[in-house]
């Protein structure tokens, strides 16, 4: 799966969640996912992470976004949409090895 496709899946997951919660605004690659600049609270992020994971599971990629790797990084992969996409690409790459 290429980066473009992963980005599409991630952005769709966020936009769908925003819609169900009546959160204004659209998500793109530079959208900040948490902290003061983010429209999401921590429960919101949990919700979207579950959605994204289950999407990839359904496609046959049993990746886990809550891996130790994600937690132990100096800078969290959950900062922006594009850092999250890079992280997922890495996980998928590794899983297929």
């Amino acid at each position: 799966m290429d980066g473009k496709k992963i980005e599409e899946i991630v952005i769709t997951a966020f936009n769908e969640y925003f819609e169900t919660q009546d959160i204004q605004g659209k998500v793109d690659a530079d959208t900040v996912l948490f902290g003061e600049e983010s429209a999401l609270d921590s429960m919101g992020l949990v919700n979207v992470v579950i959605d994204i994971e289950s999407f990839f599971h359904a496609e046959g990629y049993n990746i886990s976004l809550t891996s130790e790797r994600a937690m132990s990084r100096k800078s969290s992969p959950f900062r922006t949409v594009s850092t999250l996409v890079d992280f997922i690409a890495e996980l998928i790459d590794e899983a297929s090895k």
Binding site: M43, N47, I50, D51, E53, S54, H57, A58, N62, S64
Partner: protein
């Protein structure tokens, strides 16, 4: 209880888990079971996975497979558990590790993975397995009692974390029930243990399913983070 509900039970090869599988099959549910060994339970609505509940990769794969096939999981019973009776001064660390892996890590992993599936459908009931050994502070069961104390704590915190998803998390603490788990405990020791209960007898399989039915019934949607001990133990 609605038939066509999907219940996932861990540790179904024998003992309480085996009884519960047959009990819920009888009620018409789809039962998904697992244990390290094969199961000889053959039923069109029973599916068995041979996995160790503490093996993260296999648990993730199992739940992904169940989700793919059924789309949801209504109930989770974290029944798989092991015990060891021994004085602490004579207990190797490897035994403590084994107990914690199955009882605590296994329960955690299933709560996490099944919790995600339940969160998607904004509904679900989880029941974890505690024991009276914890409140009775049974000598000779330090590792076992401590592992189950961890399960109580996990139950109470997860109840809060999962509440926004309409998932309840409760625990059942059985008294001794006559299974392989307690078969090797010397008779006098068991007798002394039963004397510590308010109602002094072995628990039965029906005592267990009775409490589970309460936690799982639709009307119990306002019951979470609770631990019910059998035999009047508290």
């Amino acid at each position: 209880m609605d038939t066509n509900k999907i219940i996932l039970i861990t540790g179904t090869r024998k003992g309480i888990g085996r009884y519960l599988s047959e009990y819920y099959l009888e009620k018409g549910l789809v039962v998904i079971g697992c244990s390290r060994g094969e199961s000889d339970l053959a039923h069109p609505r029973y599916e068995h996975f041979c996995i160790d509940v503490a093996d993260e990769k296999r648990v993730v794969e199992m739940i992904a497979a169940v989700r793919k096939r059924h789309g949801r999981i209504d109930y989770l019973l974290n029944n798989a558990g092991i015990a060891a009776m021994n004085h602490s001064l004579l207990t190797p660390l490897s035994v403590v590790e084994r107990i914690f892996r199955t009882n605590v890590f296994g329960t955690f992993l299933f709560c996490r993975e099944v919790g995600k599936v339940m969160a998607k459908s904004k509904a679900g009931r989880i029941v974890n397995f505690a024991t009276v050994a914890t409140p009775l502070k049974l000598e000779g069961e330090s590792a076992y009692a401590a592992s189950k104390a961890a399960i109580v704590s996990l139950t109470q915190v997860l109840a809060r974390e999962f509440a926004p998803f309409h998932i309840t998390v409760n625990a059942l603490g059985p008294t001794p029930v006559y299974t392989d788990l307690v078969r090797n405990v010397p008779k006098e020791k068991m007798e002394r243990l039963l004397q510590m209960q308010t109602i002094r007898r072995f628990g039965t399989f029906e005592d267990i399913s009775n409490v589970l039915d309460f936690f799982l019934q639709d009307g119990s949607r306002f019951i979470t983070g609770q631990v019910i001990y059998l035999g009047g133990v508290s």
